[in-house]
């Protein structure tokens, strides 16, 4: 099995220290977390972690089972890049005079879908969101114009084939999952099913 980028989505309780438990599951196996984002989810009170790693599917599947085993994690999903809509955000600070002189701001905005967040006499801050490659390209472009600061945010991703967590949570709130959910979850998709 070949290694590729996987996006792991975790639905969790919002508890102190959970991020440490999560990170040790990766670091214990000497796996580097390439990107990590924590945020609220579509369900109030449920947290959402988005983690990117490059590994084989077998490793990712086992990791997800170990993750789900954590008491405060409700559910772990893993998806290939094709299975998610994903974005990363980036901010760039460049000297305004050089930019004004050498590169028309409009062209950059057009080509890279970037927008200027702040324009001052001394510097301008651009913002863009998109896939890694686009961000890397703009970084390369702006390096030519004396890029002062650059930062890229963690990946956030929406799973294409997901109905969200609302109905799942109702199941989790119950002491035993209903037959219906069990049927749907268990029958064929053995790899997707750990908890219920």
């Amino acid at each position: 099995m070949e290694k590729q980028e996987y996006t792991i989505t975790l639905y969790t309780e919002n508890s102190i220290g959970l991020i440490g438990r999560i990170s040790t599951i990766f670091s214990r196996r000497k796996i580097n977390i390439e990107s990590l984002n924590t945020s609220p989810s579509e369900v109030e009170g449920i947290h959402r972690f988005t983690i990117v790693i490059t590994e084989t599917e077998e490793v990712v599947r086992k990791l997800c089972r170990q993750l789900e085993k954590q008491i405060d994690i409700l559910k772990a999903y893993y998806n290939t890049n094709e299975e998610v809509i994903w974005q990363e955000q980036a901010l760039y600070k460049v000297p305004t005079d050089i930019i004004a002189e050498k590169a028309p701001v409009e062209r950059l905005l057009r080509e890279y879908g970037a927008s200027a967040v702040v324009i001052r006499n001394d510097y301008t801050v651009f913002e863009t969101a998109g896939h890694r490659e686009e961000i890397d390209k703009l970084t390369e472009e702006l390096t030519k114009y004396g890029l002062i600061e650059f930062v890229r945010g963690a990946r956030i991703a929406i799973i294409k084939n997901s109905a969200g967590f609302h109905s799942k949570l109702i199941q989790f709130e119950q002491k035993q999952p209903s037959e219906e959910i069990v049927e749907n979850e268990y029958l064929d998709k053995r790899d997707d099913v750990f908890t219920m």
Binding site: G17, I71, V182
Partner: protein, 581 residues
């Protein structure tokens, strides 16, 4: 505090919901009583003093065993949990008290022992200031606990403890640590009673058993010509010993135990074909690579069981029954996963399989067993050499106890010998550190094992190395009168490491030569009776004296210095390449 107690006693008809003022510490102890805890192993210190102060008033309802080191405390709690089937409870203070629990927590996690540790912590206002005896217990213990939680406000204590006991004891059990800051222990709050926890939304203790998989598994089993059952501690943890016996008896299927599964099935049961693993029996190791359907029940395919994975049971279809979904396909690819509690799945599976007779297949195990008896066992149990063997000691012990004793072991050669040769009539009779392999486990675990089953004879079989790691617990035995029989098998070496150095490192004995004090004199210093045996002719009488003595006893037996434990599946080789010598 005494006035509080009095107020309570004056109004015995107090309704459950009516609140009374209690301190966080009292709430901790109330929680223990509500959970049915009768014994706590612990050691006081600065940050847990309010709990110990409250304990003073609960002394008539809670037995507290003052250990000599926190590691001893948690190993004792593990021994207690293993023999009693209940949750072991440990108290320790902050800083060094808590860090001394680390080995035990790791051991309890890997061996799935239900443990609740309550540690004191510095005042919440001092967290992160490098205060006296402050350490980051939460982060230190996160990877070695099933769950941990820090309480900084007393009102959280009842629920935190309810959750702790629920999580520790359900599903695949494990250790839970609750760290309570000193201010929360002292804080008075409106106590509204204790409610046991029976649901945590983010935690499913056991997956539902699915009929589809039962049917698939039954079909595989019914078609099997050479089925083979491997059973682990899951059978014991699931309290499914009877269900397990019904299952294997209906099928007449040969069944082998992991180290942790020992005593789940009577050692003399006609279908018991021995122990798996690196120093397990010959037949079950060889036959793993001969069977057509491998049925693994409550075991996790540890590397010491599988040997080289890419040559492990490749010919077999694998049915894996486990309560922990993360174990399915972790090491060995499963054909049919039967997730769930084996207490539930085994009766379903038993009902779905056809009665069968595999006596010819079983006979093949027995014939390999004869080979092992000839090559290894006969010599180990009835040696012709002058030097005594560990096996003959265990063998005579079997004869004297009839297999009714609880055996705890330490780690090393004596452990493998004890696990190989000890007879167990009853479940929960074998207490050993299987996953972590913790030297120093045996003595404190025996103390706890005895508190968990005080009517039983508890024999701690320990090597001369491991005994010196936690022998301070002789003090606990002395003070509380735990009737533990300590059987030291002394070969004047760190034997298992020496064996490896002999076999794989050209006999370069690097720091395995260990000298010992006069163990009998040490015991005597703790007012524990004992004797040392160097001659075979004294052995039986000495063991009898040890067993018949009313109280703790230490028997040191000098055994052959350079004896090896065989058979052996050398590291990196397949189970079918097991060596008899």
């Amino acid at each position: 505090m005494s006035t509080l107690e009095k107020t309570e006693r004056k109004a015995p008809t107090t309704q459950a919901k009516e609140s009374v003022q209690k301190s966080g510490s009292q709430a901790v102890l109330e929680a223990l009583l509500c959970e049915g805890v009768d014994t706590v192993f612990g050691y006081p210190g600065g940050a847990i003093m309010p709990i110990y102060d409250a304990l003073y008033d609960y002394n008539d309802r809670l037995k507290h065993i003052l250990v000599r080191h926190e590691q001893g405390g948690i190993h004792a709690a593990q021994g207690y949990a293993r023999t009693s089937g209940r949750t072991g409870v440990v108290f320790a203070t902050s800083g060094p008290g808590a860090t001394n629990l680390v080995t035990g927590l790791a051991d309890a996690l890997i061996d799935s022992n239900p443990i609740v540790c309550i540690t004191g912590q510095v005042f919440a206002s001092l967290l992160g200031t490098d205060a006296f005896q402050e350490t980051d217990v939460m982060n230190i213990t996160a990877p070695i606990t099933k769950w941990n939680y820090q309480v900084t406000d007393a009102t959280e204590i009842p629920h935190a403890l309810a959750k702790a006991f629920y999580i520790a004891s359900t599903g695949r059990p494990g250790p839970v640590l609750i760290d309570i800051t000193k201010n929360a222990q002292l804080q008075l709050f409106d106590y509204e009673g204790y409610e046991k926890c029976d649901h945590v939304r983010s935690y499913r203790p056991a997956p539902e058993v699915r009929n589809e998989y039962i049917e698939q598994a039954a079909a595989l089993i019914n078609s099997a010509k050479k089925p083979f059952v491997l059973f682990g501690q899951g059978v014991i943890l699931g309290k499914a010993e009877q269900e397990f016996r019904n299952f294997i008896e209906k099928l007449g299927v040969p069944s082998a135990s992991t180290v942790m599964g020992l005593s789940a099935l009577d050692t003399n049961h006609p279908l018991h074909v021995g122990m798996l693993g690196m120093h397990g029996n010959y037949a079950p190791n060889v036959m793993t690579n001969e069977c057509d359907v491998l049925i693994a029940i409550g075991m996790r395919f540890d590397d010491r069981v599988t040997g080289r994975l890419d040559k492990y049971a490749k010919q077999a279809k694998v049915i894996h029954l486990d309560i922990d979904p993360a174990e399915i396909d972790k090491n060995v690819q499963t054909t049919v996963p039967v997730w769930g509690d084996c207490k539930v799945s085994l009766p379903l599976l038993t009902a779905a399989v056809n009665q069968a007779d595999h006596s010819e297949w079983l006979a093949q195990f027995r014939s390999l067993e004869q080979e092992e008896i000839k090559e290894v066992i006969q010599n180990e149990l009835h040696p012709t050499s002058d030097a005594m063997t560990m096996g003959e000691v265990v063998n005579i012990l079997n004869e004297l106890t009839g297999g009714d004793a609880i055996i705890t072991t330490d780690v090393g050669q004596h452990q493998m010998v004890a696990c190989r040769y000890a007879k167990f009539n009853n479940s929960r009779s074998s207490v050993t550190s299987g996953g972590l392999g913790t030297m120093g486990f045996g003595l404190p675990a025996a103390i706890g094992a005895w508190y968990g089953a005080p009517d039983k004879t508890v024999v701690a079989i320990i090597g001369d190395g491991g005994f010196q790691m936690t022998l301070q617990e002789l003090g606990t035995i002395m003070q509380f009168g735990a009737k533990v029989k300590i059987l030291i098998l002394n070969n004047e070496f760190l034997g298992m490491v020496r064996q490896w150095q002999q076999l794989f490192h050209d006999k370069r004995y690097s720091f395995v030569n260990i000298t010992s004090p006069d163990f009998v004199a040490v015991a005597k210093g703790y007012y524990i009776e004992g004797q040392k045996v160097c001659e075979r002719k004294e052995l039986r009488t000495a063991l009898e004296t040890m067993l018949n003595h009313d109280g703790a006893y230490l028997l040191e037996v000098m055994v052959g210095k350079e004896n090896n434990v065989f058979p052996m599946v050398a590291q990196g080789t397949s189970v079918s390449e097991i060596r008899l010598k």
